[in-house]
């Protein structure tokens, strides 16, 4: 993997310009915790590496009451995990980060890099989608904000244009809400066989009623995906075990898992059903108490 030219970009403008110049032969490198392995294995062989990890402007976590949370694209997983404000206001995000790969990977890998690699087994993507996140994509002369769930096109494929980088993640504030990300893997450090992130908002006037819910599943489709049918079933309803069970069943029917070393399709559906059920229950508890 020595056959590439290396450009360290000092800021976003330079990074975008370089990406634009070299087009599809170029690849942006942030933490590279997936990219470097893929290059070593010769799965991809870019001719130009635009190293954006050094752009310190994109390493930040900011929170205001009105605006919510903003995370720079080059913030490391570890910073998100350790952030006091995230622990306080968006606990499920910090909690998820604690279980993502291993400490050393979280120390170097960035949230933007994780999303842009578009691995179907990402733990971050379902969590952020559940939290209603939007991402800012910056290009040479462009800047657009899209909902994260619209960011993914296929496994390892996103809507990013060649000159664009993911510069920011924005999560709106919410009240009477709670959520949890949970995953099933053979070992704690493994990629998820199935992961589910559920975020639930209760009705302010009636705490038994579900005002809004997002159920997002990872690893079971080419891209992280919501079960809108299951969400609709619960939305506006009084939450109870029978309803949750029904929703979980529906959610598990909404996915298209592929059989692989981690299990058969049937097994993955079974696991998805159990995880959806567990996360809705826990999200409801957290929404009441957080």
């Amino acid at each position: 993997m020595d056959n590439f030219k290396y450009f360290p970009a000092k800021d976003v403008t330079e990074a975008c310009a370089l990406l634009a110049r070299y087009g599809e032969e170029a690849k942006a490198l942030s933490g590279g915790q997936s990219l470097v392995s893929m290059m070593k294995e010769k799965f991809i062989s870019p001719s130009y590496i635009i190293d954006i990890k050094g752009i310190s402007d994109l390493d930040y976590i900011r929170y205001t009451k009105d605006d919510g949370l903003r995370i720079g694209g080059l913030t490391t997983h570890r910073s998100v995990e350790k952030s006091d404000i995230i622990r306080e206001k968006f606990f499920m995000l910090a909690e998820m980060e604690y279980t993502l790969a291993s400490v050393a990977v979280r120390n170097w890998g960035t949230v933007g890099g994780n999303l842009c690699s578009a691995d179907p087994a990402s733990d971050l993507a379902p969590t952020l989608i559940a939290l209603g996140a939007q991402v800012t994509l910056t290009g040479v002369d462009t800047e657009r904000v899209v909902r994260l769930e619209e960011f993914f096109v296929d496994s390892f494929e996103t809507i990013l244009n060649e000159d664009e980088i993911l510069t920011e993640i924005h999560i709106p504030n919410a009240i009477m809400s709670g959520g949890i990300h949970t995953k099933f893997a053979r070992r704690a450090t493994d990629l998820a066989v199935v992961s589910v992130a559920t975020y639930l908002t209760l009705d302010v006037s009636n705490h038994d009623l579900c005002k809004d819910i997002r159920i997002v599943m990872g690893s079971v489709n080419p891209i992280p995906s919501r079960s809108k049918r299951a969400e609709e079933l619960i939305k506006g309803q009084k939450i109870n075990d029978v309803l949750i069970e029904k929703a979980a069943q529906i959610a598990s029917e909404d996915i298209q898992p592929t059989a692989d070393l981690n299990g058969t399709e049937e097994f993955k559906r079974d696991i998805a059903r159990v995880l959806v059920q567990r996360t809705i229950k826990e999200a409801a508890v957290r929404a009441r108490t957080l």
């Binding site: 099933f184 053979r186 070992r187 704690a188 450090t189 493994d190 990629l191 070393l261 299990g263 058969t264 097994f267 079974d270 696991i271 159990v274």
Partner: protein, 791 residues
């Protein structure tokens, strides 16, 4: 822990004598070796499980700049086959490839990358042949494929020769035991249970991949460094496969080898040697051959799939009356040490219980997979997985507590085992009692937090023999400054042999461990040892060390007696001095026995050096070919009992080992900390891994999970917390063992899987017949059980 004893160094948890290098990063492994002008090797491997080689075109590879040598399997490169028991393997395949990954050609080049590019340029034309993977099919009288048509003409080893089967062409070894008449005795049993159990193929996962470095010295001798655990075995393989005089080869093993666990067959070293020898002219450049992680996981030896059919009969009162077994080691393309594993996996079941009627037929068969060879436990974790599962089922059928049932029947001092050998140094009962105590047997597990979590406890008994015939030799050199040096071919693989040998010598010479040095194995310098295998080093090399120390001390005292004007037999040594036992002030320093010479150095007037030497040789008695009867089929037996507590998530099938305990009878712990180290690794990494996580998954002979992401060994989070894991050391001194010691490492995982599976049964009432027990298998079984109970 420190055990009570009267010794100064024996029984103490001394620090590892090679530890400073290991914790500071200074330790050099074979893979860290660099020689000037070194070339790097890479292997061209077969993509087919079974195929005839039609042609190999290496012309493009040879033209690539930086490529220095390209070799293929031919008369010149590999004139003779080699192998531990059956000479069935060439260094590079000739005529036929027998598994995906079989080496067909090799390249040495200026860099690894160039070598790899060259390998990719080699074109091989094959004619595909039908493969066989399934154990039952391979074993059959009319198998879909015969791997070695000329098996009968292959050279076999004289000591413990393999036995082929006239009617079953893929069988590379057969062994049998007949004690009284099991079939007749089943008629007298009140309950007979017959079951079939299997274990999946697993890998050792040594952290250092295999590596060999070879060079030819100025006199034309071949020198090979390697990661082997058997320097003399490798020496034989290298010299015999090339028809070289044995003295023309020198094998060196660096002080640091990154783990073995039985899996160090010397293929990388063999290829490195061939790549050196194939170079034209002089001087030849050294070659390093290091396997990648993927090569390590996908082409090197494994623990075989094993089929264990077992039928056990007992009286109502719980007395075992008969046991009959048939075991098949589903081996690979070459027998390797697997030829012996297939045979010796019968020792565990033969010596676990008092069973008057016992029959066993053990087979090893070839299939089109990579070689299956030695793996911690040497067949016994596999056979005992069957036996200890069946015993639990029998206990339940008899309505007897599984612990009680085992205590009633377990073998004891003086009992006859299935070989009709009178057992000595048996810690079975004490191990069971210790494991039961530590797991709090009889006390229900804590109530789980959630209703879908179920908990249970299980226990299992095991044992591991150490092999005969066996021999270890060593030299003990006493340096003029008092330092005592051990020259041994035992390999320090991480198990701590250098440390415990140092403690033994410290005890004999009454010097601190820091005054002892252990040289790394080097066939020019260190004498014969059978190999660092079978948990044999403490016992065998330990005995050789004691004898060699006595020899060196005798020489020391002869010299000192003259100097001090006393008789030899009144002398003793301590702190690098020799003194009169009753008048310690009458003494001299060891250096005063040597004469300092002009220009430098020291000499003795006679005898050159104080150099003790000894062999410990234990031939044993070869079992009778028809009945297996033998007074001494093994050196000794190590007993072990293990117990587990598990939590099963009945919604996801996930199993967590919440508690694990082990009790091991090692005779005498020379270094308790290192005995614990063996226990920890055997139970926590390999025991839990093999029971729940690990499996080499293949499709048409291709390994589908040759990365650490998919071949799953336990991490810190897969093992129980420190407080929930206990290891007990049981010391049942062996009359022939040095300070009573036997061994420990091989016995540490032989009862882990059945203990865990028995706990799973206790938790959810489902009996698994195959490991690993994965969440999907659990969930499927739970569904089936629910349907049954509904139906």
């Amino acid at each position: 822990m420190e055990t009570n004893n009267k010794y100064e160094y024996i029984g103490k948890s001394e620090r590892n004598v090679n530890g400073i290098e290991k914790v500071t990063g200074a330790a050099k492994y074979c893979s860290d070796m660099e020689l000037s002008r070194m070339l790097y090797g890479k292997v061209k491997r077969s993509p087919y499980p079974h195929a005839r080689i039609i042609s190999i075109d290496t012309s493009k590879a040879k033209e690539l700049p930086g490529v220095k040598v390209v070799i293929v399997g031919d008369e010149k490169t590999c004139p003779h086959r080699f192998g531990a028991g059956v000479a069935d393997e060439y260094v590079l395949a000739r005529d036929k490839v027998l598994y995906v990954g079989d080496a067909v050609a090799a390249v040495a080049a200026e860099t690894e990358d160039i070598a790899q590019d060259a390998v990719d340029l080699i074109e091989v034309e094959y004619e595909e042949l039908e493969p066989v993977f399934d154990g039952d099919q391979a074993f059959s009288k009319n198998p879909p494929a015969i791997l070695h048509e000329d098996l009968k003409s292959y050279k076999t080893i004289r000591s413990v020769p393999p036995r082929f089967d006239e009617n079953r062409p893929n069988v590379f070894n057969y062994f049998r035991i007949r004690r009284n008449n099991a079939e007749e005795a089943f008629k007298e049993a009140d309950i007979v249970l017959e079951n079939r159990f299997e274990v999946a193929m697993i890998h050792h996962v040594q952290m250092e991949p295999h590596c060999g470095v070879a060079k030819v010295d100025g006199t034309g001798r071949l020198i090979v460094w390697g990661t082997t655990s058997k320097p003399y075995g490798m020496h034989k393989d290298i010299s015999e496969s090339r028809g070289m005089a044995s003295s023309a080869v020198r094998v060196i093993v660096p002080t640091h080898v990154g783990g073995a666990f039985g899996g160090r067959e010397p293929k990388a070293e063999q290829i490195a040697a061939s790549l050196v020898l194939a170079q034209k002219g002089h001087p030849k450049r050294p070659v390093k051959m290091r396997f990648t992680r993927e090569e390590q996981l996908s082409t090197t030896t494994t623990r075989a799939r094993y089929i264990v059919e077992i039928k056990t009969g007992a009286k109502k009162d719980g007395t075992l009356v008969a046991n009959a077994m048939r075991t098949i080691l589903v081996g690979g393309a070459y027998a390797g040490t697997g030829y012996l594993t297939a045979r010796n996996g019968s020792f565990g079941p033969a010596a676990n219980y008092k069973i008057p009627n016992f029959s066993l037929d053990a087979y090893g068969v070839y299939t089109n997979q990579r070689m299956a060879g030695a793996f911690r436990g040497f067949g016994n974790a596999e056979t005992l997985w069957g036996m200890e599962s069946n015993m639990d089922m029998l206990a339940e059928a008899l309505n007897i507590d599984p612990l009680e049932f085992r205590l009633m029947n377990c073998i004891d001092e003086g009992d006859l085992n299935a070989f009709q050998e009178k057992m000595h140094s048996v810690g079975a009962k004490e191990c069971l009692q210790a494991a039961a105590r530590d797991i709090e047997w009889g006390k229900k597990p804590e109530k789980p937090k959630e209703p879908h979590l179920k908990m249970g406890k299980g226990i299992a008994l095991g044992n591991k023999y150490s092999l005969v015939p066996t021999a270890s030799a060593c030299f003990i050199k006493v340096h003029p400054d008092g330092l005592v040096e051990l020259r041994t071919s035992t390999v320090e693989l991480g198990q701590g042999s250098n440390t415990i040998f140092s403690q033994m010598i410290s005890e004999e010479f009454k010097i601190p461990v820091s005054m002892v040095r252990v040289l790394n194995p080097d066939t020019d310098i260190t004498p014969f040892d059978l190999g660092t295998a079978s948990s044999r080093s403490t016992f065998n090399m330990g005995n050789a060390i004691r004898k060699a120390c006595a020899d060196a001390k005798k020489q020391l005292f002869e010299l000192a007696a003259t100097e001090l004007g006393v008789a030899e037999d009144v002398l003793e040594t301590a702190d690098s001095r020799v003194f009169v036992k009753d008048f310690p002030e009458k003494s001299l320093h060891i250096k005063d026995l040597f004469i300092p010479m002009v220009i430098g150095g020291y000499t003795l007037k006679e005898g050159a050096e104080i150099l003790g030497k000894a062999t410990y040789y234990l031939p044993g008695v070869m079992p009778d070919p028809e009945t297996g009867a033998s007074e001494r089929p093994a050196s000794f037996y190590m007993f072990v009992a293990q117990a587990a507590e598990v939590e099963v998530d009945t919604q996801t099938g996930k199993i967590r080992v919440t508690k694990m305990v082990t009790a091991n009878d090692c005779g005498k712990a020379i270094n308790p900390m290192m005995v614990e180290g063996q226990q920890d690794g055997g139970v926590l990494s390999m025991g839990i891994g093999s029971a729940l996580l690990e499996e080499v998954i293949t499709d048409n002979g291709v390994m589908l999970n040759p990365q650490f992401a998919d071949y799953k060994i336990p991490t810190t989070l897969d093992c129980p917390d420190c407080d929930n894991y206990k290891s007990a050391i049981i010391e049942t001194a062996h009359r022939e063992g040095p300070w009573g010691a036997k061994g420990v490492g091989e016995g540490t995982m032989v009862s882990s899987a059945p203990a865990i599976a028995n706990a799973i049964y206790d938790a959810i009432g489902i009996r698994f017949h195959e490991i690993p027990i994965t969440p999907e298998k659990v969930l499927r079984a739970l569904k089936e059980k629910n349907q049954e109970s509904l139906g």
